[in-house]
């Protein structure tokens, strides 16, 4: 079965770019508009990996990482944060919260794929 990746971002264009790239590589993709939406989808769908933006309304990326790590069944879920270069401190914060890795915006499809392969195999 194809692995399922959830892309969480309030920008539709970023979500579409991520979804397009991942689908092209044979993954199934679920889109969520913010942390809250992501948690709702996580409760109802099978998801193997999360790629999340940091700044989002309702629940931001760090909050999402903390929430997911708090769930026993998703304790080991690979989570990639999408950051901008200026957010070095956020990177550390995310790491502390339990994010698996990060990708710096703007990124190219091949960069995204290399990160996904790194944490999902």
């Amino acid at each position: 079965m194809d692995k399922v990746i959830m892309t969480v971002d309030d920008s539709a264009s970023v979500r579409q770019m991520v979804a397009f790239t991942l689908k092209g590589a044979g993954y199934a993709v679920i889109q969520a508009v913010d942390g809250k939406d992501a948690l709702a989808k996580l409760a109802s769908e099978h998801i193997d990996m999360i790629i999340t933006d940091l700044n989002m309304p309702n629940l931001d990326g760090i909050g999402l990482v903390k929430a997911v790590r708090g769930m026993p069944e998703h304790k080991f879920m690979p989570i990639i944060m999408v950051t901008t270069e200026s957010q070095e401190s956020k990177k550390l914060e995310g790491r502390a919260a339990g994010a698996t890795g990060w990708i710096v915006k703007p990124f190219k499809p091949e960069q995204l794929m290399s990160v996904v392969r790194k944490v999902l195999g």
Binding site: R69, K75, F76, M77, P78, I79, T100, K118, V119, G121
Partner: protein, 709 residues
């Protein structure tokens, strides 16, 4: 420099240039595939640089001037100021051909078209000017390439990766990281389990395993660090290069296990040395002493092994250095060895007849040395097939461009060795078969795509040993041979009759008949009238055979089987009256008896019934007009050539014999059915039968009687 020295120098330059040019061609073709490979760029530059330098020294000023232009371009590429593009490689390939022409011209061959030279130079200059605008942008690339100068060199790293216990809580799977390392090159991963607590204390949600990895890779240390980028700060990680002083250190046979363990910080060297008096292996002693556990020993052993292999590889590369010898000297040597083998055979025979112990033992010693000498002499003449592969790469590239097809040439078994003469004579047949595959076999990209195949067609050229012969395969994934079309054509050309019932193999065999060409329209590439019949003739002359396999829609395979060397033949000695003949063992199937009664039963029809199969035979006695009485019982040596069995009737079969082939003098060259001669131990000359031609001759001269079941 005196005139003679200058001439010798010029000759040496030409030889060297020829070699450099073929290397250059290969590098350029590779460069097309890997345009950023610094090593390849360097190679192209060096080749041009050398040709320019030596050319000027020996008065080839035109070559030097011309080469200078190309060198300039590649100097820019080297500095990162000019990118490798299709135009550049195309131009450089043309330049390479032009240099070739210039060298040939100096030998009085075809003259140089100066307009071509001019055109290439101008095009190169334009290319350089155009790229000038982008020179600044690629300055970054320049520093980058300088930093990774020795990137092409392999390096071996020792990586210790010890994740913190809470690694899993970030969703990291360490196995994926190790897999990533495995993809970088030769890699040995050893898991260290000594930190895993007893089961009752074991928490599966923490990471207690750590890893030692030895990896040999062409990538640099930063690439290794990148693998661990997400676990930075969540593990202990050390990366050390461990093979730097290995380069030319062949005095020592690599580092000792104890030294490696000590250097890795696993044990202290003193402790190792104090324990070394024991008889057990170092690793075992250390484990017994409880100083280090098995996992670490295993890691150190893996390291030792990998370093040893790398060192061996490097030594092999260093010792592959060679000297150049004129081929006529080699031929002379082979001739002399041939004579020696003959004399040795006589000596052995004399010793047997004399029965004297001292002489026998000397003869045996001489025999052993002679065979060894013979084998190594033949070895000198052997060249790897790969030397010709580059030429075919170019051929396929140029042809597919011309024909608007997308075709790659895959090669395999480039290190398969074959006699130099065989390789040389094989060149034309291979060119022809590959041309056929490219031209007729592989379809246009759109046609392929419509048929559900990849647009890019593949021609695979592979070589390999099979017993005493070499198999060369040319496979394509094209349209395959069309049996019906072949049959129609053969009938139209009157090669076979309308109602002929042919097996698949026989149908494919038709394309090798003289006067057969399937190409519907004659293209510029193949179908110039020189067809597969010439290929077959050439291969036959090498004592080889061609086998064709094909599946419509899936492609065709041509398999050439060739003897390892032309100088020696494994033969079956047979006797007719007082004459001895050699039948090449490669075609011999079996030997059966033929009695007068058998002959009478068949009404003298020269056909024998061998286990229910009728096999036509040729009486050597009749064919060579040997005047002697027939024996009551004779022998038939059954041979098989091109799936056709033919027997040869002889008086006696003496046995197998490996012989050195001597060509017959000019006077006898035209004799059909005899391919050469050999001198036997007692000094008699035996003729070597050319079985296929012998059969053809008999078939032609007596079509109604002898052969043809």
């Amino acid at each position: 420099m005196s005139g003679n020295e200058l001439d010798a120098g010029r000759e040496a330059f030409k030889e060297e240039a020829a070699e450099l040019l073929s290397e250059l061609e290969l590098s350029l073709l590779d460069l097309e595939q890997h345009p950023t490979d610094d090593e390849l760029i360097g190679r192209v530059f060096r080749a041009m640089h050398t040709i320019k330098g030596s050319g000027a020294m020996f008065g080839f000023d035109d070559i030097a001037d011309f080469t200078h232009e190309v060198e300039t371009a590649f100097d820019l590429v080297r500095m990162g100021k000019l990118a490798v593009s299709k135009e550049l490689t195309n131009l450089t390939l043309r330049a390479r051909d032009q240099i070739r022409t210039m060298i040939d011209a100096s030998e009085g061959k075809a003259s140089v078209d100066n307009a071509v030279t001019e055109d290439i130079v101008v095009s190169l200059q334009i290319l350089i000017k155009v790229s000038d605008g982008t020179a600044e942008a690629s300055d970054i690339a320049q520093t980058e390439s300088a930093a990774s100068e020795d990137k092409s060199l392999q390096a071996t790293y020792r990586i210790k990766f010890k994740p913190f216990a809470e690694l899993f809580t970030t969703g990291t799977n360490p196995v994926l990281l190790l897999n990533e390392l495995r993809q970088m090159g030769t890699c040995n991963v050893i898991a260290q389990t000594d930190a895993i607590p007893p089961l009752e204390q074991f928490n599966p949600e923490t990471c207690a395993t750590y890893w030692d990895v030895i990896v040999t890779t062409t990538q640099d240390v930063n690439a290794i660090r990148d693998v661990f980028i997400f676990v930075d700060g969540m593990c202990e990680l050390t990366i050390e290069r461990i093979d730097d002083d290995l380069e030319y250190d062949d005095s020592e046979a690599g580092m000792k296990l104890g030294e490696i363990l000590a250097e890795r910080g696993d044990v202290k060297l003193d402790e190792v040395n104090s324990l070394l008096d024991g008889q057990k292996k170092v690793g075992q002693i250390l484990v017994d002493a409880g100083m280090v556990d098995k996992g670490h020993i295993q890691a150190a052993l893996a390291e030792q092994q990998q370093l040893k292999e790398i060192q061996e590889q490097r030594q092999k590369a260093a010792s592959a250095a060679s000297i150049r010898v004129a081929s006529y000297r080699l031929d002379k040597l082979v001739d002399l060895v041939g004579e020696l083998v003959t004399v040795q055979a006589r000596l052995s025979q004399t010793a047997v007849v004399n029965g004297e112990a001292t002489l026998t033992s000397i003869a045996e010693e001489v025999e052993r040395l002679t065979w060894e000498l013979r084998d190594s002499t033949m070895g000198i003449r052997m060249l790897p097939m790969g030397t010709t592969f580059s030429k075919f790469k170019r051929l396929v590239r140029d042809l597919s461009l011309d024909l608007g097809k997308e075709i790659q040439l895959a090669t395999d078994g480039a290190d398969t060795e074959l006699d130099k003469t065989v390789i040389e004579k094989l060149s034309d047949p291979l060119v022809h078969i590959i041309r056929n595959s490219v031209d007729h076999g592989i379809e246009k990209p759109d046609v392929r795509f419509a048929a559900g195949k990849p647009r890019m067609g593949t021609v695979r050229l592979s070589a390999g040993h099979s017993g005493a012969s070499v198999l060369i395969k040319i496979e394509d994934d094209g349209a395959g041979l069309d049996k019906d079309a072949i049959l129609r054509k053969a009938i139209a050309k009157g090669l076979i009759s309308n109602d002929a019932e042919l097996s698949e193999k026989e149908i494919y065999g038709l394309i090798m008949l003289p006067g057969f060409s399937t190409s519907e329209s004659v293209t510029s590439v193949s179908g110039r009238g020189v067809g597969m019949d010439v290929v077959k003739k050439n291969v036959d002359a090498l004592r080889g055979s061609i086998d064709i396999k094909s599946k419509k829609g899936f492609g065709s395979t041509f398999i050439l089987q060739l003897p390892l060397t032309l100088a020696i033949i494994d033969g079956l000695l047979v006797k007719v009256a007082d004459d001895i003949f050699v039948i090449p063992l490669s075609v011999v199937e079996e030997c059966v008896e033929l009695t007068k009664a058998d002959v009478e039963k068949m009404n003298d029809r020269h056909v024998s019934n061998v286990r229910g199969v009728l096999i036509p035979y040729i009486r050597l006695r009749e064919h060579f007009s040997i005047d002697a009485d027939d024996l009551e019982t004779e022998q038939i040596v059954v041979t098989e050539v091109d799936d056709k069995k033919v027997g040869f009737v002889v008086d006696y079969v003496i046995g197998e014999h490996q012989t050195v082939i001597k060509s017959l003098g000019r006077m006898f060259r035209e004799i059909e059915g005899v391919s050469g001669a050999t001198i036997l131990g007692d000094g008699t000359v035996a003729l070597i039968l050319d079985v296929p031609r012998l059969v053809n001759t008999v078939e032609r001269d007596t079509p109604t009687r002898t052969v043809g079941v």
